[in-house]
C-alpha cells in the first residue's frame, strides 16, 4: 500500500490509508500556530466541500475538506491551532495526536502543510522545528508575506527552505496569492504517491547550560539564528498601528467603554436587522402550515404536522436569523483580532466571580440564545472554567424570554411604558447577577479553585476576510439547524403528543354554543354566529388541553406551583414551554379559552383577556404578585430542552445537564416563592 511505503522513522503507521478500488486517497494535515491564517487557507483550498466533526471524547472540532487532483482524492484535515507539540491545551493535544497518528478519528496524515506567519517568523519556526521530527513530508506555507513586507520584513524563501530542509512557499491566504504553487506541490505529491522523503530534524544543540533547564530554549535559539540568516529586517518596530489601537482597547477604562460600545452596536443589529428575516421565517412556516392543512384532511396526522412539527420546529428556527447575525459579528470581531482584547480587559473583573476573561463572549452571546453561547465556550481553554461558563450561561435573558417579559409587562404596566422598560432592565439585571453569583458559588462548592490565569496572544489587528467570516457563520448555522432538525423535532413531537392525547369529545358547552350559532345564522345574524362558532372552538381546544396529559400534568404539579401563585393553567404553560419559552404565551391563550390565534394576531387582546382571567373562586389569576412571580420564574428557570441537549453534548455527560436543570429550577422556584409570598406579606396582591 502506497501510504505505508512512505514510511519514515517513528514506527509503523497505525492506520494506513485504505484507498477505494481504483482510487488513491491521502490525508494531509493543515497545522500551524493560532492566528497564522490556517482557516483562511483551508477555506481557500476546500471552499464548501467540508464537513465538521468532533474528536471523540472531546469537544474539539476538526474540519475535513476534500480535494480531487486528477484521480487522487486528498482529505485535507484542518487541525486546531497549536504553539507546540508539548501540548498544553486539549486542542493542542488533539492536534498532536493526529500528527503522530494516535487519533481515533483521523488516520495518520501522509503529509503536513505547516502554515507560518511571516510577520512572526521566530515563534512560528519553533513549531516547524517540531514538525520536522514527525517523519512526514512537510511543506511550509509562508503566509502573510504582504503584511511582513509592509513591516519591511523580507524573507528569502530559498534560504529559509535550505535552512529547514523542506519546501517553503510564500502565500497570502486572504487573497489567494501563491496558493496555485501550493496546489502544484500537492499535485506532485499525489503523482509520486506521497513517497517524498521526510525532511531531517534540526540538530539539538544546547545553547547554554541554563537553557538546558528549558526544553524550549534550544529550539528558539535555532529559530532566531535561522531567521537572522534568511530575513532582511532593517529593525523597524512592528505592529505600530496595533499598538496604537491597543492603547485604547486594552485600557482599563477606555477598553471597557469601547467594549460596551461595540457590544451595544452588535446587539442593536441583532435585534433590529433580524426582525425582517424572522418575520419571513415565521410567514414561511405559517404558509407551510396552511398548505398542509389544505392538503391533509383534519385529524391526528394534520395536527401532528401542523401544530407539532411545523409549529414546534418553526418556533425555534425563527431564532436562526438572530443566531446567524450573532455568529457573523463574533466571527468578524474574532477575525479582526478584537475578541482577545475583550477577554483581556475583562479578565480582572470576571476573575472576581471565578470566571476567566474569555468567558465574556459566550456570556454576552447568551443574551441572544444560550445554544450558540454554550457552543462558543470552546474559546475557554480550561475545562473547569469552561464548565462554569456553560452552567451559568442559560441564566442570561435570551430572545425566547422576551415574549414572556412583554406579556408580564403588559399585565403589570399596560399603560406605563416607562415602568415596563424598567421591568425589562430589571429582568436582564436579575439574570446577569444570578449568573455571576452562581459562578462565584460554584467556585466555592462543587468546582473549587480559581479561574486559570490569562495567557493569550493578542494578534495584530487586521481587516476581516468576508469569506472566512461567512464560512464560519454558515458552519455554525448548519450545526444549529441540524439540532433543530433532530432533537428539537423530537421534543416538539413529544410536547405535541402531551397536549393532544388522550383525546376528549367536545364539551357540552361547545355543543350548546354551536347550536346557538346555527340558530343565529338561521335568523340572518352571521356575525354573531361566527363569534359564537369561534367561542365554541376556543372552548373545545381549552377543554381538550385541560383533559390531555399536559393538562393532567399541570393539575398534578398545581400543589407544587401554587405557593408561587400559579394555577394549573400556568402549570400547563410551564410544561409546554420546555421546547421554547415563548410557547407559554400561546399555551396560556388556549388554556384560558382564548384560542391560539389571539396570541399572534392580537396580543393586546390576549393581555386584556388574561388580566380578566379568573380562578374557580372568581378571583383574578394575574395579580401583581403572580405576574412578578411568573416573571422571576422565567428569568431563572431552565425552561429549554434544546439548551439541555447542547449542554450534554458540550460537557460530554447528562450529569452536568441535570445539575444545570436542577440548580436553575430550584433557584427559580425559591426566588419566585420569595417574591410571591413577600408581595403578599406587604399587602401587594
Amino acid at each position: 500500500m502506497i501510504a505505508t511505503l512512505k514510511k519514515c522513522h517513528g514506527g509503523e503507521s497505525k492506520k494506513p490509508a485504505t484507498p477505494a478500488a481504483g482510487e488513491r486517497s491521502f490525508t494531509i494535515a493543515l497545522t500551524g500556530n493560532p492566528n497564522a491564517g490556517k482557516s483562511s487557507l483551508f477555506n481557500l483550498l476546500t471552499g464548501l466541500r467540508t464537513r465538521t466533526g468532533n474528536f471523540s471524547g472531546t469537544t474539539v472540532e476538526y474540519h475535513v475538506g476534500r480535494l480531487k487532483i486528477n484521480d487522487t482524492e486528498i482529505n485535507l484535515v484542518d487541525l486546531p491551532g497549536m504553539y507546540s507539540m508539548h501540548a498544553v491545551t486539549t486542542e493542542e493535544r488533539v492536534a498532536r495526536d493526529v500528527l503522530q497518528g494516535d487519533a481515533a478519528d483521523v488516520q495518520r496524515p501522509d503529509a503536513a502543510i505547516v502554515i507560518v506567519d511571516a510577520d512572526n517568523l521566530e515563534r512560528n519556526l519553533f513549531l516547524v522545528s517540531q514538525m520536522l521530527e514527525l517523519g512526514l513530508p512537510i511543506i511550509v506555507a509562508l503566509n502573510m508575506v504582504d503584511v511582513a513586507q509592509r513591516h519591511e520584513i523580507y524573507v528569502d524563501t530559498e534560504k529559509l527552505s535550505a535552512e529547514i530542509g523542506c519546501p517553503v512557499m510564500p502565500i497570502v491566504a486572504k487573497s489567494g496569492k501563491g496558493v496555485e504553487a501550493l496546489e502544484g506541490w500537492l499535485e506532485d505529491l499525489a503523482r509520486d504517491g506521497f513517497t517524498q522523503p521526510a525532511p531531517k530534524p534540526i540538530e539539538h544543540v544546547p545553547a547554554c547550560a541554563k537553557c538546558a533547564s528549558c526544553k524550549y530554549g534550544w529550539r528558539y535559539s535555532w529559530a532566531e539564528e535561522a531567521v537572522s540568516r534568511c530575513v532582511k529586517t532593517p529593525g523597524v518596530a512592528k505592529g505600530r498601528v496595533t499598538e496604537r489601537i491597543d492603547r485604547v482597547m486594552t485600557h482599563p477604562i477606555g477598553g471597557l467603554a469601547a467594549l460596551f460600545f461595540i457590544m451595544t452596536t452588535v446587539f442593536y443589529l441583532i435585534f433590529s436587522v433580524a426582525t425582517v428575516p424572522m418575520d419571513m421565517i415565521d410567514m414561511l412556516f405559517g404558509t407551510l402550515g396552511a398548505w398542509v392543512s389544505n392538503v391533509i384532511p383534519a385529524g391526528d396526522l394534520r395536527s401532528l404536522l401542523v401544530d407539532g412539527i411545523i409549529g414546534g420546529v418553526g418556533g425555534v428556527l425563527v431564532f436562526l436569523p438572530q443566531i446567524c447575525i450573532l455568529f457573523f459579528f463574533l466571527a468578524v470581531l474574532e477575525d479582526t483580532g478584537y475578541l482577545s482584547r475583550a477577554a483581556f480587559v475583562l479578565d480582572r473583573i470576571m476573575r472576581r466571580f471565578g470566571l476567566p476573561g474569555t468567558a465574556f463572549v459566550p456570556l454576552v452571546s447568551a443574551h441572544a440564545c444560550a445554544i450558540p453561547a454554550i457552543m462558543s465556550t470552546r474559546v475557554i481553554h480550561d475545562p473547569r472554567d469552561r464548565l462554569i461558563a456553560i452552567l451559568v450561561a442559560p441564566l442570561m435573558t435570551c430572545s425566547a424570554r422576551l415574549p414572556v417579559y412583554t406579556m408580564v409587562a403588559a399585565l403589570l404596566f399596560a399603560d406605563r411604558p416607562e415602568f415596563a422598560a424598567l421591568l425589562f432592565i430589571g429582568a436582564y439585571m436579575l439574570g446577569i447577577v444570578a449568573a455571576l453569583t452562581t459562578a462565584f458559588v460554584l467556585r466555592k462548592t462543587i468546582l473549587p479553585g480559581e479561574s486559570k490565569p490569562l495567557v493569550m496572544e493578542l494578534p495584530g489587528y487586521k481587516i476581516p476576510s468576508l469569506r472566512t467570516v461567512l464560512l464560519t457563520t454558515f458552519d455554525r448555522a448548519k450545526i444549529f439547524v441540524q439540532q433543530a432538525g433532530t432533537i428539537i423535532l423530537v421534543i416538539s413531537i413529544i410536547l405535541w403528543a402531551l397536549a393532544t392525547y388522550p383525546k376528549s369529545d367536545p364539551p357540552a358547552r361547545s355543543l350548546d354554543l354551536e347550536q346557538q350559532a346555527v340558530a343565529m345564522a338561521a335568523q340572518g345574524d352571521t356575525e354573531g354566529a361566527e363569534a359564537l362558532t369561534r367561542e365554541a372552538k376556543h372552548e373545545t381546544s381549552r377543554y381538550a388541553l385541560e383533559h390531555s396529559f399536559a393538562g393532567s400534568l399541570g393539575k398534578l404539579i398545581e400543589p407544587v406551583v401554587a405557593p408561587l401563585g400559579f394555577d394549573w393553567q400556568i402549570g400547563i404553560g410551564v410544561i409546554s414551554s420546555f421546547a421554547a419559552r415563548e410557547v407559554i404565551v400561546s399555551t396560556l391563550s388556549i388554556v384560558y379559552g382564548l384560542g391560539d390565534d389571539v396570541a399572534d394576531d392580537n396580543p393586546e387582546g390576549l393581555y386584556g383577556k388574561l388580566m380578566r382571567a379568573t380562578r374557580s373562586d372568581g378571583t383574578p389569576v394575574f395579580t401583581t404578585a403572580t405576574a412578578v412571580s411568573l416573571l422571576i420564574f422565567y428569568v431563572l428557570a431552565m425552561q429549554c430542552l434544546p439548551t439541555q441537549v447542547v449542554t450534554m453534548r458540550e460537557t460530554g455527560s447528562w450529569k452536568w445537564a441535570a445539575i444545570q436543570f436542577g440548580y436553575m429550577t430550584v433557584l427559580a422556584y425559591v426566588a419566585a416563592f420569595v417574591a410571591y409570598q413577600g408581595l403578599h406579606l406587604i399587602g401587594i396582591a
Binding site: 504553539y83 507546540s84 508539548h86 498544553v88 491545551t89 506567519d117 510577520d119 512572526n120 517568523l121 521566530e122 515563534r123 519553533f126 545553547a207 547554554c208 541554563k210 537553557c211 533547564s213 528549558c214 524550549y216 530554549g217 528558539y220 535559539s221 512592528k238 505592529g239 496595533t242 499598538e243 491597543d246 486594552t250 482599563p252 482577545s340 477577554a343 483581556f344 479578565d347 480582572r348 476573561g357 486559570k452 490565569p453 490569562l454 495567557v455 493569550m456 496572544e457 493578542l458 494578534p459 495584530g460
Partner: protein
C-alpha cells in the same frame, strides 16, 4: 527581578520561569522562556508582553514567576 517590575517598553532577557504548571508551559511555548528577549508593552493586571513579533496578554500573578535581567540599553 520579575517581568512585572520592568518599566513600560523596557526590554529584558528571561533568566528563569519559576513555576511548572500548564499555564507557564503555555507561556514558554509562546516564547516566554529562558534566554529569550521580552519587552513589557503595558503594565497592569493583566499586562502585555512582546516576544518576537507577538503580543501576549498575561495575568500579573503568572508574570510574577517570570524572572528577567534587563537589557542594556533598556530598549530593543
Amino acid at each position: 527581578m520579575t517581568v512585572t517590575e520592568l518599566k513600560p517598553h523596557e526590554c529584558a532577557i528571561v533568566s528563569d520561569v519559576t513555576a511548572q504548571d500548564q499555564e507557564t508551559e503555555r507561556l514558554k511555548s509562546m516564547g516566554v522562556c529562558v534566554g529569550r528577549t521580552v519587552q513589557l508593552i503595558k503594565k497592569g493586571d493583566p499586562l502585555i508582553l512582546k516576544v518576537f513579533g507577538s503580543r501576549i496578554g498575561v495575568s500579573a500573578r503568572l508574570a510574577d514567576y517570570v524572572h528577567v535581567v534587563p537589557c542594556t540599553p533598556t530598549t530593543c
